[in-house]
C-alpha cells in the first residue's frame, strides 16, 4: 500500500509539473532567503566580536573629554601626559600595562613611492597590549624609547604600498621631514568590521613622535590592560578616581575624560549587528511568508481539480486512507525537495556573501531547521488538508464538485 501510494504520488507530481514547480519555488525562496540573511548577520556579529577580542578583552581606553552623549564638550579638555600613564601604572592595582598613545596622520615616502598613513607613538608595551605580533624584525627597545630614536615598526599595508614585494626591515622610510629605519613588521590583522584597514599604520617610540612630528609632550590617550583574573570594573573605577584627582576635578563636577572598556565597546558594536541581523531576518521572514502564501494559493486553486480527481479515485475503488496517504506523500515530497533545494541555495549564497563581506561563514542549524520546518509545514498542511476534506466526501459529491 505504501509503495503504491509513493508511486501514485510521484505520478501526480510528474503529471502536474507546473504546479509542483511553483509549490517548490515558494518553499525554495522562503527557505533560502531566511537562511542566507541570518547566516550573513551571524557572520557579521562574529566578525565584530572577533575583532574586539583581537583588541584584547581586558582593555581600558582613557581619552580626554566626554565621548558619548549630547551636550558634552570635549574641546576644552586637556590632553594627558606621559606622567599620567606612569601614575596609573604605579598606583592602580591589578594592571598588566598602561601605555600612553599618540597619533598623527603623515605622508610616508620610501623608494620613490609615497603613502598617506597614520603614525602611532607609544611604548614597547603597546604591542602586547594591542595583541600585535611581529612577523619579521623586532620592536623598539627601552634605549630607543628613551632616546627618541628614529626607528619604526610598520603594518602590512604600509609595507606593501611602499616596498612592494620587499621585506622592509632595515630599509629607510621618510616620515615628514625625517628619515626613520624600519626595524620590524607587524602581523596582518586585516580589515576591521567598520571597514577600516587595521594594517595601515606606523608605530614608533612616543618620544620620537613627540619631538619630531607633533612638537608637544601631549599624549592622545591611555591604553590600559588589566591582568587576567583581576576585576576590570575595579580597575576602571580606580583609574577614574586617579584621573579626577590628577586633573583637579571638584566633587560634583563632570569628568573631562572618559574610560571605555573593550567589553563595553564590544557590547555596543555587537548590539548593533544583532539589531541588523534581526532586521535582515525580519525582511527575510516576510519573503518566507510570501512564499508560504504562494504555496497556499497554488494548493487552494487546484482544490477543485483535486476534489474531482479524488472523486474519480474513490469511484474506482480507492479507500480514503489510500487517497490521503498519496496526497500526504506528495505534499511531503514536494516540501522536502523544496526545502533541500532552498538549503543548498542558501548555503551557496551564504558562503559567497560571507566571502564578499569578509566575515566568517557560520552554519546555523537552528535557522536551517526552523525555516525548512515552516515552509514544509505550509506545503504539507495546504496540500493535505483540502485533500482530506475531499476524501471524506461521498464519492459522488466529490465527483460533482464545481
Amino acid at each position: 500500500m505504501l509503495w503504491n501510494a509513493v508511486l501514485l504520488a510521484l505520478r501526480e507530481i510528474r503529471r502536474n509539473l507546473m504546479r509542483s514547480f511553483l509549490t517548490i519555488l515558494g518553499i525554495v525562496i522562503g527557505v533560502s532567503a531566511v537562511i542566507t540573511m541570518v547566516t550573513l548577520g551571524n557572520g557579521a556579529t562574529r566578525a565584530v566580536s572577533d575583532q574586539i577580542s583581537s583588541l584584547g578583552s581586558n582593555l581600558l581606553i582613557v581619552r580626554p573629554g566626554q565621548q558619548l552623549g549630547p551636550g558634552r564638550d570635549s574641546a576644552g579638555a586637556a590632553s594627558f601626559r606621559v606622567a599620567d600613564a606612569d601614575a596609573v601604572r604605579s598606583q592602580v592595582s591589578g594592571l598588566a600595562a598602561a601605555v600612553p598613545v599618540s597619533g598623527k596622520s603623515v605622508t610616508l615616502v620610501a623608494m620613490a613611492r609615497n603613502w598617506s598613513s597614520s603614525v602611532t607613538g607609544s611604548t614597547a608595551d603597546w604591542f602586547a597590549t594591542g595583541k600585535w605580533q611581529i612577523t619579521s624584525g623586532r620592536i623598539f627597545n627601552e634605549a630607543e624609547e628613551r632616546a627618541g630614536a628614529a626607528v619604526c615598526v610598520i603594518g602590512e599595508t604600509v609595507r606593501k604600498e611602499l616596498f612592494g614585494g620587499l621585506d622592509a626591515v632595515g630599509q629607510q622610510v621618510r616620515v615628514k621631514q625625517f628619515s626613520c629605519e624600519v626595524i620590524g613588521l607587524l602581523a596582518s590583522k586585516g580589515q576591521s568590521t567598520m571597514g577600516n584597514d587595521q594594517d595601515d599604520l606606523v608605530v614608533m617610540p612616543l618620544r620620537t613622535l613627540q619631538r619630531r612630528l607633533t612638537g608637544s609632550v601631549d599624549v592622545g590617550s591611555l591604553m590600559i590592560s588589566v591582568r587576567d583574573g583581576a576585576s576590570i570594573d575595579a580597575a576602571k573605577s580606580e583609574v577614574m578616581w586617579l584621573m579626577r584627582e590628577r586633573r583637579h576635578i571638584d566633587p560634583g563636577d563632570n569628568d573631562d575624560f572618559s574610560v571605555m572598556d573593550t567589553r563595553q565597546i564590544a557590547e555596543t558594536l555587537s548590539g548593533t549587528t544583532r539589531v541588523l541581523t534581526g532586521l535582515l531576518g525580519a525582511v527575510a521572514a516576510v519573503s518566507l511568508l510570501v512564499g508560504g502564501i504562494g504555496i497556499m494559493n497554488i494548493m487552494l486553486v487546484s482544490v477543485t481539480e483535486r476534489t474531482r480527481e479524488i472523486g474519480i479515485r474513490l469511484a474506482i475503488g480507492a479507500r480514503e486512507g489510500e487517497v490521503l496517504l498519496q496526497f500526504l506523500i506528495e505534499a511531503v515530497a514536494l516540501s522536502s525537495l523544496g526545502g533541500m533545494v532552498g538549503i543548498v541555495l542558501a548555503t551557496l549564497a551564504s558562503i559567497a556573501g560571507t566571502a564578499l563581506m569578509k566575515v566568517p561563514y557560520l552554519f546555523d542549524p537552528v535557522i536551517n531547521l526552523l525555516s525548512f520546518g515552516f515552509s514544509a509545514a505550509i506545503g504539507v498542511i495546504f496540500g493535505y488538508v483540502p485533500a482530506r476534506r475531499a476524501a471524506r466526501l461521498d464519492p459522488i459529491e466529490a465527483l460533482r464538485h464545481e
Binding site: 508511486l7 501514485l8 505520478r11 502536474n16 474506482i316 475503488g317 480507492a318 465527483l399
Partner: protein, 238 residues
C-alpha cells in the same frame, strides 16, 4: 432459485430535513440477475442517476435495503464499500471522468494499482482492456488528445480491466453524437452478449434504451414500468 445479483427493497433517498425535506426516491423495488442488460429511463429529476449511484455504492440510501450478491450493502462501512467498488463494480460516467494529463494506459491501470497488481501484470491487463474496446496503440495518449468517443472507450476499459460483476453506466452516451453513441452501445451490447457482463445503464434517450433487454421506467422516484423486451440473455441456469 439463486440469489439475484442486485436486490433493492423499498429503497428511499431523502435530501434535507423537516419542511424542506425532499424525497428523491420513494421506495424502489428492483431485482437484477447476472447477465442482464437493463436500461433505467425517466425524465429529469425522476431519480434515475441517484438510483444508479446507490447501485454503485457511490451514495447511500436513506431507507430500505440494498443487497449485492446477497450482501447487505447498508451494513458496510466506507472502506468496505470502496473495496466492493474495487472488486465487483465498474463505473462509466456521462462526463467520462478520466484523470487529466494522464495517459490512457495509466488511467486504465489505476484500479489495478489500488488492487496492488504487480507492474508487469498491470501493463498487460491495461493493454488488453484497451484492445478490447478498440483502442489498441492509443495507450500513450492523454484524454485531451482523444475524441469523446475514444475517451468513453478508455473509461469503459478502465471499468472492465478489473473484470467486475456489473458495469454501471450513467448516461454513457450523453456527451456523444449519434454515430459515437451507436459505437459505444454496440460495444456494451457485445460485452453483454459475448462475456455475459451485466450492464445497468441510465439514459433518457429512447434510442439508446432500445439496445437493452429490459427497460425500467422511473417517474417521481418510483418505478412506473418494468418491461422485458427480448428473450432474456444468459439466464442463471434456473
Amino acid at each position: 432459485m439463486s440469489v439475484p445479483l442486485i436486490a433493492l427493497r423499498e429503497v428511499t433517498r431523502c435530501f434535507g430535513h423537516g419542511a424542506a425535506a425532499f424525497q428523491a426516491l420513494r421506495g424502489v423495488d428492483l431485482s437484477i440477475e447476472a447477465g442482464e442488460f437493463v436500461a433505467i429511463m425517466g425524465p429529469s429529476g425522476s431519480g434515475k442517476s441517484l438510483l444508479m449511484n446507490i447501485l454503485g455504492c457511490l451514495d447511500t440510501p436513506s431507507g430500505g435495503s440494498y443487497r449485492f450478491q446477497g450482501l447487505e450493502v447498508d451494513s458496510l462501512d466506507r472502506d468496505q464499500r470502496a473495496l466492493l467498488r474495487r472488486h465487483a463494480l465498474g463505473f462509466i460516467f456521462q462526463g467520462f471522468n478520466l484523470l487529466a494529463r494522464t495517459s490512457a494506459q495509466e488511467n486504465v491501470e489505476l484500479p489495478l494499482l489500488y488492487r496492488g497488481e504487480p507492474a508487469a501484470r498491470r501493463h498487460l491487463l491495461a493493454r488488453e482492456a484497451l484492445a478490447a474496446v478498440g483502442l489498441e496503440g492509443w495507450g500513450h495518449h492523454t484524454p485531451a488528445e482523444l475524441s469523446g468517443g475514444q475517451q468513453q472507450r478508455v473509461a469503459i476499459a478502465r471499468a472492465l480491466v478489473t473484470e467486475p460483476s456489473v458495469l454501471l453506466a450513467d448516461e454513457p452516451t450523453g456527451n456523444l453524437d449519434t454515430e459515437r453513441s451507436r459505437e459505444i452501445m454496440d460495444l456494451l451490447v457485445a460485452l453483454n452478449r459475448d462475456k455475459g457482463l451485466t450492464v445497468v445503464m441510465v439514459t433518457h434517450e429512447a434510442d439508446m434504451a432500445e439496445y437493452a433487454h429490459r427497460i425500467v421506467r422511473l417517474v417521481d422516484g418510483r418505478i412506473a414500468s418494468d418491461v422485458r423486451r427480448a428473450a432474456p440473455v444468459c439466464s442463471e441456469g434456473a
